[in-house]
């Protein structure tokens, strides 16, 4: 369980939110502790530097402002003012929010602040007049939401939750409980509180990198209706009408996830030729062979196949979500591979799309897309090509040279900070210290005078891997540097990239004495002896693997000859090899 300090501030009653929110956070592996602002006190608590908000030192600040509170004056007498006055009201509300959030971010630079879009009751005195006349309030609400989004997208520490969208998907009538408003100034029904709790918790989990990475899919009755081995190519239901269209649109949603950087894998009991013929040739398939990062189409049990997929993709079984129409298969996998998330699945294919969207809003809730995300699918194709080359029997050195590796390194900047934070959150194997950082924390480190944050991008003959390495060094008062974070994506392990990275960085920074730390975890045994291999000496006893030292590092560490290294000047945009 990860400790998480949360602050709750709101324009309406929010204490009641603590209970469902805490439960949703615990379910995702967090141990939350809360500080809650007094009723109607959010401005005071933010502006007062001595308030409990700051003493609590939260990792997450939830600032929930409800539309009916922000636009109370407009809603009370909606016919009194016209559109221009409404826009002024919205701009003022947005400006106040911006100022409050900036105050919080300045005083709590490492915290993530979560703000929300607002809605007003869709049924109100202006129904009919809205959009048909000069009377309306939606323009004010939309203007506020627009300014909120603009401000948030420019701030690494701010995340927006679309509470208005959540209310719309549940239905505003079920979002409110009139009794609770009049008795306790609570703007939410129980259903609303639970939906918000799930969404806020999923957002925080997403922010800290706890997203799933791969959807493993069955084929028959999951990607198409019917069984290819029995119904044949012409007999399966996949097309542009009716149930066939339901399957095609389900595939389209999966394709959207692929484009967001989610991996798709296949896990099906079939003859490979039958299945691949549909995937390659069926005119209504939206997903093709190139969209699947790995496939297991055979007659073995699915739990074993999932384990094999995990190994091939080099990700944990706990990064998988498995979808199968067959409840027997689902039960089998839940029992034999309990790390895999196996959601219940609707019996009717017309519901597949919405079931997928709901599970995506929990397990694949991307808050931003990096260039790496967009290229991830192709990258896995290139990995397969590299593996073929590696197994073609040449010596290791010949293999490294044949890859024609070009390394770019550079200091963190606003373009690279999201990917750097993402890597610190996701990387487990080649990770010496496994320290997890948010974007806000990386930004703060990159601005610190005694800290250096470097990224590494690797390109080779087969393409670009994108940014795949992070090195964070901290200088102590004596002028020695310690490696706070040293990680590489598992895709680029086993190619001596780590040698090149560390050597190039220490030369760029001008490091003499270098200290390394190894903090063992269940997954990083592969790098237990990394510092030893790089020529460091133990600081502790002969059996102590945790602290290492190297004098004269800039001279002693060598860059292997099969790399071409470039160092980016600080204002160059990286990770955008969109060739």
């Amino acid at each position: 369980m990860t400790e998480l300090r949360v602050a709750l501030l709101a324009s309406c009653t929010i204490e009641v939110f603590e209970r469902p929110f805490a439960a949703a956070l615990r379910q995702r592996g967090f141990a939350p502790s809360f500080w809650i602002s007094g009723f109607g006190q959010y401005q005071q608590d933010i502006l007062d530097a001595g308030s409990g908000l700051y003493t609590h030192d939260p990792n997450v600040v939830v600032l929930y402002l409800d539309g009916e509170d922000l636009f109370r004056e407009l809603l009370k007498n909606p016919l009194a003012q016209l559109a221009d006055a409404h826009r002024t009201h919205a701009e003022r509300a947005a400006a106040e929010l911006r100022s409050l959030v900036e105050t919080v971010s300045t005083r709590l630079p490492k915290a993530t602040v979560i703000v929300n879009t607002t809605a007003v009751p869709p049924l109100n005195a202006l129904t009919g007049l809205e959009y048909n006349s000069e009377y309306g309030v939606q323009d004010a609400v939309n203007e506020y939401n627009r300014e909120l989004a603009a401000f948030a997208s420019g701030s690494a520490g701010v995340v927006v939750i679309d509470a208005a969208g959540l209310a719309a998907s549940i239905g505003f009538e079920r979002w409110r409980d009139a009794r609770m408003w009049y008795l306790a100034r609570l703007r939410h029904s129980r259903l609303a509180l639970e939906a918000l709790a799930e969404r806020y918790a999923s957002t925080i989990a997403a922010r800290l990198g706890r997203l799933k990475k791969c959807i493993a899919l069955d084929l028959d009755n999951t990607l198409w209706g019917g069984i290819i081995g029995e119904d044949g190519f012409e007999g399966i239901r996949l097309g542009e009408e009716g149930i066939g269209l339901a399957f095609a649109e389900f595939q389209e949603e999966l394709l959207s996830l692929y484009r967001k950087g989610v991996l798709l894998a296949l896990c099906s009991k079939n003859n490979p030729q039958d299945a691949l013929q549909v995937i390659r040739d069926h005119p209504s398939m939206r997903l093709r062979e190139e969209h699947f990062a790995a496939v297991r189409i055979n007659w073995e049990d699915k739990a074993s196949n999932l384990r094999a997929l995990a190994e091939e993709l080099n990700i944990g079984l706990d990064s998988f979500v498995f979808l199968d129409d067959n409840p027997v298969e689902r039960t089998w996998v839940r029992q034999s591979a309990p790390e895999v998330t196996v959601p219940e699945w609707p019996a009717d294919p017309v519901e597949y799309k919405s079931a997928l969207l709901r599970l995506a809003s929990e397990h694949f809730l991307k808050l931003g897309i990096t260039a790496e995300d967009r290229k991830r699918g192709e990258v896995y194709q290139a990995q397969a090509a590299r593996r073929k080359l590696e197994s073609s029997g040449s010596s290791l050195e010949e293999f490294y040279r044949a890859l024609e590796m070009r390394v770019r390194i550079g200091r963190a900047n606003p373009f690279t900070i999201p990917r750097i934070a993402q890597l610190t959150q996701k990387t487990n194997q080649f990770n010496l210290t496994t320290r997890r950082y948010t974007e806000a924390e990386i930004r703060a480190s990159s601005e610190d005078a005694h800290t250096e944050v470097f990224w590494l991008e690797l390109n080779d003959r087969f393409g670009s891997s994108g940014i795949v390495g992070v090195l964070i060094l901290k200088e102590d008062v004596g002028g020695a540097w310690t490696v706070d974070t040293f990680l590489l994506s598992c895709r680029v392990m086993g190619r001596t990239v780590e040698n090149a990275f560390l050597a190039a960085v220490v030369r760029e920074v001008g490091v003499n004495r270098l200290l390394g730390e190894f903090l063992p975890t269940a997954k990083n045994a592969p790098v237990k002896d990394l510092y030893e291999r790089l020529g460091f000496e133990r600081l502790g006893g002969p059996e102590d693997d945790r602290l290492w030292t190297l004098a004269d590092a800039a001279t002693r560490l060598e860059i292997p000859p099969w790399f071409e290294i470039t160092i980016d000047p600080e204002d160059v945009r990286a990770g955008t090899t969109e060739s």
Binding site: E15, V16, R19, Y182, L183, L186, R190, L193
Partner: protein
């Protein structure tokens, strides 16, 4: 004192929501003798009981449900919620 027989689901819900030992819950358990049963606890109890029992309390009676005995009586009085309530 009350020797009212308490519904087990009611006891479990009160125990879970207010973080109390189930064995300590009696018909007389109330905000006056239970620190955890503050105004927030009261709302949490009401919402949870509505969900567990499929009932809907009247607005006027909610503030008056100030003991486990009264909660039990109110659950009995109110039928299951309408599907589109």
């Amino acid at each position: 004192m009350n020797n009212l027989q308490l519904d087990q689901r009611l006891v479990d819900t009160v125990s879970r929501v207010l973080n109390l030992d189930a064995s300590s819950i009696t018909p007389d358990t109330s905000p006056r003798n239970t620190a955890a049963w503050d105004s927030v606890g009261h709302i949490n109890l009401v919402l949870e009981l509505e969900d567990v029992f499929g009932v809907r309390f009247q607005t006027d009676e909610i503030p008056l449900l100030d003991s486990v005995a009264k909660l039990q009586a109110a659950i009995g009085r109110n039928g299951p919620t309408r599907v589109d309530a």
